[in-house]
């Protein structure tokens, strides 16, 4: 009979907590998860850091713009004219006088050939 009693307890139905039981407990308890807190603190830090970086970036861009504008513009104006004359010089360099003479010779040869043809 002792064995019967042991069997009765060992074979007895054993309940397992349903998942919603923990959900209800977690909802009703006034406790908060550590992970959420860490996320809150992390997000506050992140936002602060992002705001500082953004402000610093804006200041840097503003300061850079203010410093660069007056110094650059005269340089650009001054350099515009020589650049144009250099371009013109480069264009004239492309026309080789010797080549022009050779082309003129070719033209003369063509004229002579045409005249010979007409004579025939």
């Amino acid at each position: 009979m002792k064995n019967d009693l042991d069997g009765l307890f060992h074979e007895a139905e054993r309940l397992r907590p349903r998942p919603e039981l923990w959900r209800r407990i977690a909802e009703r308890s006034a406790l908060s998860p550590r992970a959420e807190r860490r996320w809150e603190w992390a997000s506050v830090r992140y936002l602060r850091a992002a705001a500082v970086v953004f402000a610093a970036g804006l200041l840097a861009v503003g300061a850079f713009g203010l410093l660069r504008k007056p110094a650059n513009e005269p340089v650009r104006e001054a350099s515009a004219e020589p650049a144009l004359s250099a371009q013109a010089g480069a264009d004239t360099d492309l026309i080789d006088p010797e080549l022009l003479g050779w082309q003129a010779d070719l033209g003369n040869i063509d004229l002579v050939a045409d005249e010979a043809e007409e004579a025939l």
Binding site: D4, L8, F9, P17, W22, L31, P33
Partner: protein, 184 residues
Amino acid sequence: MRPWIGAEMKSLEELRAGRLEGLQWIYETFAERLLNQCYRILLSREQAEDVVQDLFVRLPEIIGEFRGESALGTWLYRVAHNMCLNRLQQAKNRAKLEWENAEELAPRARGGSVELTDLLAKALAGLDAETRSLLWLKEGEGIPLKELSAILKLPEGTLKSRLSRARDKVKEYLEQEAKVEKRS
């Protein structure tokens, strides 16, 4: 030293600091055992779940009463045991019943208003709630007498004699059941 003592201490610290993780560790470690203890006392899954839920929701408040004189599990068994007995007492008061729990629950069990899905539940229904708790913790959970004495706040000698009487009653029930089966 229990292997989970470090985790137990850590979870207690977390719980006292108001963190849910501490409560979750205690729940994952003890909820099933507490649910079964409550089920064997109350003989109803729904009521057992209610008590376990109530216990864990209130745990952050009442954990201050745990002084570490016993294992956390022992203390939790005691809290669950008391909460179940209180619930039965309240139900009894509400219904203005003067009978003992066993007399009250056994006919209800047979009538089907209380969930008695297994033979053990039916056998335990013939015992009073305190004895059901004692017998389940000893035979179902294998808790030694010394720890049972701490849970139920009763001397070991008293527990031994109560256990002996409870086992005899259950055996008697099983014999009757066997006879009924043979006849049918």
